[in-house]
């Protein structure tokens, strides 16, 4: 079957033979860059776009809720699906195509039915794309060099985010909001190119095939046991608490800027978004190295401690330019989270065959934390004022940092078995016909 896959992919990619000579590492760089580029413009523009199409606030709220629910509901099934599909490059390919379809649906058919469909398509494909990139990274770098690799991923993703925000903003203001969706769809094309050098990597059997003779119910039981691993549960709680304090902070800081700064507010808000991305781009590789040399706990503590500091500063400082500078701390947290989520998940689940499932589970709790954060943050700001809301978020962040310090185990040498060899080389031998009925399910909801 791998050969079959190869032939199919080769026929898709034939025009770009030159690209096939690019190293997989470079390919992964490019994929991170362009995927982040695409994802940036999408979310925030939807509300503005639908408003210009005469949608009421209630209708827009419903459409966004459909998207959120779809993304949340597909996190875990999508993770399991990615685990079950051998070719991660194919997963990335179809996720990107679904992205393009979603962007075109928004641009061409802004009526509720198709907007809901586009939201669902977008929600599901973002849940398959992230894990696919993480799995490709694990295959290319191997367990022992994953930290630096993820640091590099985060650097390129941050550059993509920054450039994407600038590009989409420019497009939205100078052309039309609708053009942003066409631009997003067009940006899928360059994002497909890095898949060419990656397709060979993805063809090697992945970790799950070491569990040669596992039956379907056994696989499911194993997955549940894995998700119940104390370290993974603690990590999930930590990042959920972190997101609870973190997610509402930028929007709230931005509304404060809108209230205070005359005329320059949109520019300052743009700076609040782009500056942390620059910090992430600069710091991520160092954080990846640090996580490999000094352990995950240290990096986690640095990133988590930045949140209460940011909340405390925002609650006492009101100068617009100072607010932008405080956002540097957001970059610190962002770099740590961006490197650590896929890294800790790989420490715990990297060789179990359920890596993407565990990433999906972490994505799920992050989503819950973020959703609650926006609601709680908005409520706190309305009832107690902005400074109190920032202080509250700082307190939640402090609790998250304390939880890391008190309960999070070091996962660097979790499985033992040190080996510098990339996974693909070690696992290439066995490719049994493991199959499980339960793994098939997640494919259904997309139809």
């Amino acid at each position: 079957m791998p050969r079959n896959d190869r032939r199919r992919l080769a026929s898709i990619f034939r025009p770009d033979r030159a690209l096939a000579k690019v190293s997989p590492e470079r390919g992964l760089d490019g994929l991170n860059l362009f995927v982040a580029n695409i994802q940036t413009g999408f979310g925030p523009f939807i509300a503005v776009y639908l408003t210009t199409r005469g949608w009421t606030q209630g209708e827009i709220g419903l459409a966004l809720t459909v998207g959120t629910v779809a993304a949340m509901a597909s996190q875990i099934p999508a993770g399991a699906l990615v685990d079950a599909i051998g070719s991660k490059a194919a997963v990335a390919l179809f996720s990107l195509l679904a992205f393009a379809a979603s962007a075109l649906l928004f641009a061409l058919l802004p009526v509720p039915l198709f907007v809901y469909l586009a939201e669902i398509l977008h929600g599901f494909s973002s849940c398959t794309l992230g894990p696919a990139i993480a799995a490709l990274s694990l295959l290319i770098a191997g367990q022992r060099k994953l930290g630096p690799r993820l640091g590099r991923n985060a650097r390129f993703a941050a550059i993509g985010n920054g450039v994407g925000a600038a590009l989409m903003g420019l497009c939205g203001y100078s052309l039309s909001v609708r053009a942003v969706f066409f631009l997003t769809a067009a940006l899928i094309l360059p994002a497909l190119l890095p898949l060419v050098p990656l397709r060979r990597v993805s063809l090697t059997p992945h970790a799950s095939h070491t569990q040669a003779t596992a039956e379907a119910p056994e696989m499911a039981g194993q997955a549940v046991r894995l998700l119940m691993t104390p370290a993974l549960v603690v990590f999930g709680l930590c990042v959920m608490l972190f997101m609870l304090g973190n997610a509402a902070m930028l929007p709230l800081a931005s509304t404060t800027l809108t209230k205070r700064a005359t005329g320059t507010a949109p520019l300052l808000i743009a700076a609040c978004i782009v500056l942390p991305q620059l910090v992430v781009a600069g710091l991520s590789p160092a954080f990846g190295q640090l996580a490999e040399q000094r352990g995950r706990r240290l990096v986690m503590l640095i990133g988590f401690a930045a949140l209460p500091a940011r909340g405390a500063l925002l609650s006492i400082i009101t100068d617009p330019y100072a607010i932008v500078l405080i956002q540097i701390l957001d970059g610190l947290s962002g770099a740590a989270i961006g490197v650590l989520v896929p890294l800790v998940a790989s420490d715990i689940a990297g060789r179990s065959g359920h890596y993407n499932l565990s990433l999906g589970a972490i994505g799920f709790v992050i989503g819950i934390g973020a959703a609650c954060s926006t609601t709680l943050g908005g409520w706190a700001a309305d009832s107690f004022g902005d400074p109190a809301a920032f202080a509250g978020m700082a307190a939640v962040g402090a609790a998250a940092a304390l939880l890391v310090w008190a309960a999070m185990p070091e996962t660097r040498d979790w499985v033992g078995e040190p080996s510098g060899e990339p996974l693909d080389r070690r696992l290439v031998a066995t490719r049994p016909s493991v199959r499980s009925a339960s793994m098939k399910e997640p494919g259904q909801p997309t139809t």
Partner: protein, 162 residues
């Protein structure tokens, strides 16, 4: 299983692309809302009254500018009283890419529409500085406030927007 899952994904992607490609055939779904107000009943009601598009316009989603030409945001809601007269417009003000914008209610009488030129933004006789610090418009609050006419200036004449 792998293969079938992949093919299912292909199917979904192709279906989605086909759907998207079909879009232009269905025509631009531009002003369905405006059309709805014209014909809520059966196909051909007797009581049809002309609604001149030269004299009227839909307002949801229209861009609002200050006399200085500053972009003030989009109209996202209209607040009406029991008699059906509009009292305020809710504007989604400020922000970047939809981040950090605030919903602010402004006195309906301060808005000036130009139905003859659909591309011209709605003019609001207030400056950016006069509305940016206003409280956010919230329907669930008891004390909702809108921004009225500036206290000292004479009621500004509806001069031609720039």
């Amino acid at each position: 299983v792998k293969r079938r899952a992949s093919w299912r994904l292909i199917g979904v992607a192709i279906a989605a692309i086909a759907l998207a490609a079909h879009a232009p055939a269905q025509g631009p779904p531009a002003t369905q809302k405006a059309a709805l107000t014209n014909s809520t009943d059966t196909p051909h009601p007797k009581n049809l009254v002309p609604l001149d598009t030269k004299d009227t316009m839909g307002v949801l989603g229209k861009k609002v500018i200050a006399p200085s030409g500053d972009d003030l945001g989009l109209i996202v809601d209209v607040v009406a009283d029991a008699a059906g007269h509009p009292r305020a417009a809710v504007i989604d003000f400020g922000g970047f890419l939809g981040v950090g914008s605030r919903k602010i209610a402004v006195d309906w009488n301060l808005l000036h529409f130009a139905p003859t030129d659909r591309n011209r933004p709605v003019l609001l006789n207030l400056d950016r500085a006069e509305i940016q610090a206003a409280p956010e418009y919230k329907t669930d609050s008891d004390q909702v406030k809108m921004v009225g006419a500036p206290p000292l200036s004479p009621p500004a004449a509806p001069d031609a927007p720039k």
